[in-house]
């Protein structure tokens, strides 16, 4: 018995010494997170840094399309989400705006582009490196989206908010800087994307000559896509996921369009010729209701799968800008030529001759912009630019989304501009 006891004690002592030695030989508290990258590790993954920043922007585009469609006359709420209902009715207050998350996502994407630029500078990338051009271009596009849909937005990282027009101007400035580098590097895709962005920013800001100049430089056939995929949850196209027949049906086309829909062909009839317009696909199976169980659901059918991409910009938009600038310059012939060329490309007959009726051409222009840019997130900006919110949707509605309360409250320096004119009037 004594032998067994002392043996056990001896082994115990050995085990204790071994344990202490093992603990002393390494830091027992040292751990690392193998599912995340550290700051240092990314210095050797620069393309992924650039792609991450651009990807973060692109993954916001589907939500941007949804909420601008609801606030404009494209869509109405047919589901149960109070946030959709608020936007449909033109309601939003600071702190409870359903679009806050889009604002925040765009801001974080913009930070990612800026953080990437600092990293690229630190590791010594040339300004003409494609990755630098990529993130600079995307930064400009983000400002453009902010200016188009939000009354005001933070100018920089935690800095003062500026108005939508100022934001559009800032977008133009950034895109021009990116364009210069893209041209030096000979990056055709970014050259076209930057020119298209400058054209749109100028158009929205009322600088029509500049809009025309840059729009004309974008060749036919160009498209800058927001890419979607089914391989991961955020990459799925949420326009389809939440608002399309076959998936969830939380929102559908506004009632004003229903009578124009050919439910057999699943297309909108062109209001001027009665032809089926292949650019505006709308599906309404017999008796289809939204998830509220009562509202007929006319589903957008432009995007049919969760992997369908959404155009951020395209050459057709540039031709529309050319048409609009011509119309604004009272050059109705050029305006009609541009519009009819776009129609001819999809097999639609020319628009009825407007003669010298500029108002008629404006209606054609708006109609064509609706069709060409259907479900691409631009209808809200158009209704605002032509001051049509009240007449199309009724008075007392919000025209753009307010600054995110999250952004306002968490900016370190209390940076909200005192100029109340920059703000959206809150509507309960």
């Amino acid at each position: 018995m004594r032998y067994r006891t002392s043996s056990l004690m001896r082994w115990g002592a050995v085990a204790t010494v071994a344990g202490v030695a093992l603990a002393g030989a390494c830091d027992p508290f040292k751990v690392s997170d193998p599912s995340r990258y550290t700051d240092e590790a990314l210095d050797s993954a620069l393309q992924s840094v650039a792609d991450g920043a651009e990807g973060q922007f692109q993954l916001t585009v589907d939500d941007y399309v949804i909420y601008t469609a609801l606030l404009s006359d494209e869509w109405q709420h047919t589901g149960t989400w109070a946030g959709y209902d608020d936007v449909d009715k033109g309601r939003a207050r600071y702190g409870s705006s359903p679009a806050d998350f889009i604002f925040n996502a765009l801001m974080r994407a913009r930070y990612a582009t800026q953080d990437a630029q600092e990293r690229f500078k630190r590791v010594g990338l040339a300004d003409t490196d494609p990755k630098v051009v990529q993130v600079k271009s995307v930064e400009g596009w983000i400002d453009l989206y902010l200016g188009a849909a939000f009354c005001e937005a933070t100018q920089g990282q935690g800095t003062e908010a500026i108005s939508d027009i100022q934001m559009l101007q800032q977008a133009g400035t950034k895109l021009k800087a990116a364009l210069a580098l893209a041209q030096q590097a000979g990056l055709t895709q970014w050259i076209n994307a930057d020119r298209a962005g400058i054209a749109r920013a100028a158009l929205y800001a009322g600088n029509y000559a500049e809009a025309l100049t840059y729009a004309q430089q974008v060749p036919d056939g160009f498209t800058y896509w927001a890419k979607f995929s089914t391989t991961s949850d955020p990459q799925r196209n949420w326009v389809v996921l939440t608002n399309t027949v076959g998936f969830n049906k939380a929102a559908g086309m506004r009632q004003k369009w229903w009578s124009q829909v050919d439910t057999i062909a699943s297309k909108l009839r062109d209001p001027w010729t009665g032809q089926l317009d292949p650019r505006v696909e709308i599906r309404h199976p017999a008796g289809s209701l939204g998830v509220d169980g009562k509202t007929p659901h006319y589903s957008q059918w432009k995007y049919k799968t969760l992997a369908d991409d959404i155009p951020i910009t395209k050459s057709e938009e540039m031709r529309l800008i050319e048409a609009e600038v011509a119309w604004r310059n009272n050059d109705l012939v050029t305006a009609m030529a541009r519009l009819n060329a776009l129609r001819a490309a999809v097999g639609l007959n020319p628009l009825p001759d407007p003669g010298l009726d500029a108002a008629r051409v404006r209606d054609y222009l708006l109609s064509e912009r609706f069709a060409v840019l259907f479900m691409e997130g631009q209808r809200l900006a158009d209704l605002n630019r032509f001051n049509l919110i009240a007449s199309y949707l009724g008075a007392g509605r919000l025209k753009k989304f307010p600054l995110s309360q999250f952004e306002a409250q968490n900016s370190p320096n209390g940076v909200i501009a005192d100029d109340a004119t920059k703000r959206c009037a809150p509507i309960s």
């Binding site: 751990v31 990258y37 990314l42 991450g52 990807g55 933070t154 990282q157 949850d233 169980g293 999250f406």
Partner: protein
């Protein structure tokens, strides 16, 4: 599980168990021969009336000898050298007694203990957080204990949660989502952190175990079809424990008592002690079988549905609405069979047990199948060395109930179904997925788990002891959800999908305790405890998704046109040392001081070790002799102590998250800003109380008041979105407080001949309040619109964590008399500009009353509980109304004509709940348990070779009364998630359970 597989399981279980038991018994018998030549004590424990008392602990102070009386109250201690010994007998509910016996050199001596009923238990020995086994009278802080072995004798207990349910003041252990195998809410003294986990740490026989209470294996980037893959009811690894294996549970509730557990102990510590063998005992078999059924109370809000109809668009047939109370609720089979054998020689004892549970939900498909095997061995090698080996294996397989915030929720699709849009394929008017198709889903979680430990006790000197425990908990969990090809599922469409998750959890525990007792002059005693404790924990989760099947027949992930995989991993290492000394003065005044020093891998790299001090005082005033006669026992106590709660395993790191972007390229973007200074939350607990016995201990009172202040509380302090990073920065900036009281009353009201009536009242109150949110997380007036906002939403100073704020209706327009342009009748409501206080999320006051009546061979037991003060976001109400369905909405229709038509009240109601949510009270009174037992006469059962045999009929969760406008006032939408308690959305209610149980021994 099919009937065939059930039939296969039981013989395997029984056969294996028997073989294992006999092997151990042979070993035990041979080990016992070591002491075959010495003296023997043969004893019996009874109550004053002579009724035998089983489960009484018989010990010999200063010796490594101890035994538990069997069901006949008998015990035998062999192998004692000749001499005089002290025997102490303790049993819950009775006064402890000690006797001296003189053992002859050979032969035996007989001794009998007749214990007196006592509602006070100051002599009870507890070991958790006390620096070694210590009598309750010496403790300055509250430590609760639950005699699980006695409870399972009284009423069937299917899960560990049920064992604690409404039995311990300050412990909230309730089912919050119905369904077999679903997760439970387990928390102690309210909400103890704003961000971190809420569950207490749980040890089984000294080994730290996995307590995960939610299955959410889904990775946000995985693109799974819906709502992770757990079906919304969660999953709970504490469900793996077999209550029938448990002898006793000790619960330390706050930092004052839990200091010695250090950085993991703020939420409290639960220690489970499983049953042990019996020395000098032939194999004693116990068998129990419980059979019955689960059935939901028919209170679903679909009773008006049969008064509505629709016309099927395809066939023109009239489809009448279905009431889910009749169409969905079924009886779910419940079966629980357990068998164990206890025995041993003098040196080696064994407890070998096996159990099999089949519990089927009332909404099907949903069931839990659990098999448990346990072997516990105790070996007293010498007078100085003893060893304990515990080994438990569990197989727990759950067919997951589809419920909660889930497109494939069974009840959700039935309750939100609209009878006016029903069709042949969707007879409930299901909004998302046809119930027939949901029933085709195959969603299963299966766990294989081994928990085991080795404890060595070394007593070189009678007053100098050592205990070393090494243990492991290994969990392998597989969860899958298969959407078959051809049926329509929202987001999956008809192409099918398979989601498959694996979780591998490993935890290693190391625990050393040394103890030195000294007698100092002037009647002062000293007990020094010191030691070290640590754990290493690793949690790995892998997941795969297959999508887009070409046709039926293939069920593996690899059959999908598209396959995706992900992997998650965390690792935590904690090591600490501790010491405490307890001084006693004349065995009535006890003063304790101690500390723990901890290091943890989750602390920031610039942060060092954490120091937690403690001190307590206990004074057994009744020893002084000046108290009035009706006070038979009185102890005053006070304690102060600190403990911690560590941040998440990798919260300290500044990280960037990978994400597939731009058509499946790899991208990264800022995720967490990290914090190199990250420290644990520190909670200082102060508590005081009394434990008293009145009228010869027939009435026991245990009352505690406490205040727990947390400093360094972790808050995710958000950065402005323009400053990047998805997550806020975790900072130790907050302060919060819990204060409350706990009261336990035990009364042996009547003990007269064959009739006994005993009663237990358990109550507690708790108020949680945030004291400070740090400089960057304040509430204030926004410059945007001069309104009051709080940056952190549900975190507001002077309110409890996750307080409920919401906009409210402040007015309405005049009543309209007809449809307007927007087709709106009735009133248009006006919503408040800002969110206003709507209620606190957890109850302020909970309690229960249990009564046991015994008359001869009959025993009647009843337990009623109540809760008051909690509010929840009752999301079902507005959702159903927005769906234009549910009894609340449909009741506003005009039923006077052949077809019910909506009225202005319908649209008014809909407009109201388009604008605001519903906040309802969770207050309820619940008849939790009612059971009637009958003990079969010994003269009858002994004829067939059986020992003590009883039959019990019981009902659980039989009825509740509430005013919540809901099905179940305790329901949560997210299973047992730490902070899911503010909202219910389509959670399934708890079923009623009716069970008949027979227990016997042989």
């Amino acid at each position: 599980m099919t009937n065939r597989s059930r039939q296969r399981s039981l013989p395997w279980l029984g056969g294996g168990l028997a073989a294992l038991a006999w092997t151990v018994a042979l070993l035990a018998g041979s080990a016992g021969a070591l002491w075959a030549q010495a003296g023997v004590v043969i004893g019996k424990v009874t109550d004053r009336s002579g009724q035998p008392l089983g489960s009484a602990q018989v010990s010999m102070p200063g010796m490594q000898r101890g035994i538990v009386s069997d069901a006949r109250g008998e015990f035998v201690i062999r192998g004692l050298p000749a001499g005089t010994y002290t025997l102490e007998v303790r049993r819950i509910g009775y006064r402890s007694e000690a006797q001296q016996v003189t053992v002859p050199a050979s032969g035996s001596v007989q001794v009998t203990f007749a214990l007196t009923v006592s509602a006070v238990s100051l002599d009870e020995v507890v070991v958790t957080g006390t620096g070694g086994g210590t009598e309750r009278r010496k403790l300055g802080a509250a430590v609760a204990s639950v005699e699980a072995g006695m409870i399972t004798e009284e009423t069937p207990v299917a899960s560990f949660s049920s064992l604690l349910q409404a039995r311990v003041p300050g412990v909230r252990s309730i089912g919050i989502t119905g369904g077999a195998g679903s997760s439970k809410d387990l928390r102690i003294r309210g909400t103890s952190s704003m961000q971190l986990r809420q569950r207490p740490v749980v040890y089984v026989d000294g080994v730290r175990i996995d307590t995960k209470q939610a299955q959410y294996l889904g990775n946000q980037s995985m693109g799974t079809a819906c709502c992770a893959i757990d079906g919304g009811a969660g999953g709970d690894r504490l469900n793996d424990l077999n209550p029938e294996d448990i002898e006793r549970v000790e619960i330390i509730k706050g930092p004052a008592a839990a200091t010695l557990y250090g950085s993991e102990a703020t939420n409290g510590v639960i220690q489970i002690f499983t049953k042990k063998g019996r020395a000098s005992s032939a194999p004693r078999w116990s068998l129990s079988y419980a059979g019955g059924f689960n059935r939901l109370r028919p209170n679903l809000g679909t009773k008006l549905y049969p008064r509505f109809f629709s016309v099927d668009a395809a066939t023109g047939d009239t489809i009448w609405g279905k009431d889910a109370n009749q169409a969905m609720i079924e009886s779910g089979l419940h079966q629980d069979v357990n068998i164990n054998v206890q025995g041993g020689g003098e040196a080696l004892t064994y407890f070998v047990a096996g159990g099999f549970l089949f519990d089927e939900g009332s909404i099907k498909p949903n069931d839990e199948k659990r098999g448990n095997l346990r072997v516990n061995l105790n070996w007293t090698a010498t007078d100085k060395w003893s060893f304990e080996v515990n080994s438990a294996y569990t197989r727990n397989s759950t067919t997951l109930l589809q419920s909660g915030n889930n497109w494939t929720s069974l009840l959700g699709n039935a309750l939100l179904g609209n009878p006016r849009t029903a069709s042949k394929t969707r007879p409930f008017g299901e909004p998302w997925v046809a119930i027939a198709d949901i029933k085709k889903l195959h969603a299963v979680s299966a766990v294989d788990r081994w928990t085991g430990g080795l404890t060595a006790n070394f007593t070189p000197l009678r007053r100098f002891t050592h205990r070393l425990t090494l243990g492991a908990d290994v969990v392998n969990e597989e969860t899958s959800k298969f959407f078959p090809f051809g049926s329509y599922y929202t987001y999956v469409n008809t192409a099918g999908e398979k989601d498959l998750g694996y979780r591998s959890f490993k935890s290693l525990t190391f625990d050393y305790l040394g103890r030195l007792s000294l007698d100092l002059p002037a009647g002062i005693g000293s007990e020094l405890s010191f030691g070290t404790q640590g754990f290493w924990e690793e949690d790995r989760r892998n997941m795969a998704v297959g999508k887009g099947y070409a046709g039926p027949g293939v069920t593996l992930v690899s059959g999908g046109a598209q396959t995706i995989a992900s992997e998650l991993y965390t690792k935590t290492v904690n090591m600490g040392i501790f010491a405490q000394n307890r001084f006693s003065v004349r065995d009535r005044l006890f003063l304790t001081g101690g500390f723990r020093l901890d290091g943890n891998s989750a602390f920031g790299k610039n942060y060092g070790f954490q120091f937690y001090p403690k001190g307590d005082l206990a004074y057994v005033l009744s020893e002084e002799g000046f108290l009035p006669g009706f006070i038979s026992n009185l102890k005053l106590r006070a304690a102060a102590g600190m403990s911690g709660l560590t941040p998440g395993a990798f919260d300290q790191f500044r990280t960037f998250q990978p994400l597939t972007v731009l058509d499946d390229n790899t991208g990264v973007f800022p995720d967490s800003p990290g914090n190199a200074e990250l420290a644990p939350e520190k909670t200082l607990g102060l508590e005081g109380g009394i434990e008293a016995g009145f009228f010869q201990d027939r009435l026991g009172v245990d009352f505690t008041v406490y205040r727990q202040k947390t400093s360094n509380a972790l808050l995710s302090v958000p950065l402005a979105a323009s400053q990047g990073f998805n997550q806020g920065q975790l900072q130790n900036v907050g302060k919060m407080q819990n204060q409350g009281w706990e009261l336990a009353l035990n009364a042996a009201i009547i003990e007269s001949g064959h009739f006994r009536w005993s009663s237990t009242v358990s109550m507690d109150g708790n108020r949680n309040k945030i004291l400070d949110l740090g400089p960057r997380a304040i509430c204030g007036v926004s410059k945007l619109d001069n309104k009051q906002y709080c940056k952190l939403g549900a975190f507001r100073t002077n309110y409890p964590v996750n307080v409920l704020f919401g906009q409210t209706i402040v007015g309405d327009s005049a009543l309209t008399s007809g449809p307007t342009a927007s087709n709106l009748w009735g009133r248009t409501h006006i919503r408040s500009d800002t969110a206003v206080y709507r209620g606190d999320p957890l109850p302020h006051w909970t309690g229960s009353v249990a009564n046991t009546f015994e008359f001869g061979a009959f025993r009647l037991y009843g337990l009623v509980s109540w809760e008051r003060g909690a509010t929840f976001n009752n999301a079902d109400r507005p959702y159903a109304i927005r769906f234009s369905t549910g009894d609340e909405y449909l009741s506003t229709f005009d039923f006077s004509g052949p077809v019910p038509v909506k009225t202005y009240r319908s649209d008014s109601l809909q407009n109201y709940f388009q604008l605001v949510g519903a906040f309802d009270k969770r207050d309820n009174i619940r008849l939790r348990e009612l059971s009637l037992s009958y003990q079969l006469p010994a003269t009858v059962v002994s004829k067939v070779g059986l020992g003590r045999t009883s039959l019990t009929l019981s009902g659980q969760n039989l009825m509740w009364w509430d005013n919540c406008h809901c099905r179940e006032p305790n329901a949560n939408w997210q299973g047992g998630s730490d902070f899911g308690f503010t909202t219910d959305f389509l959670g399934a209610p708890q079923p009623r359970k009716f069970v008949a149980t027979i227990r016997t021994s042989f």
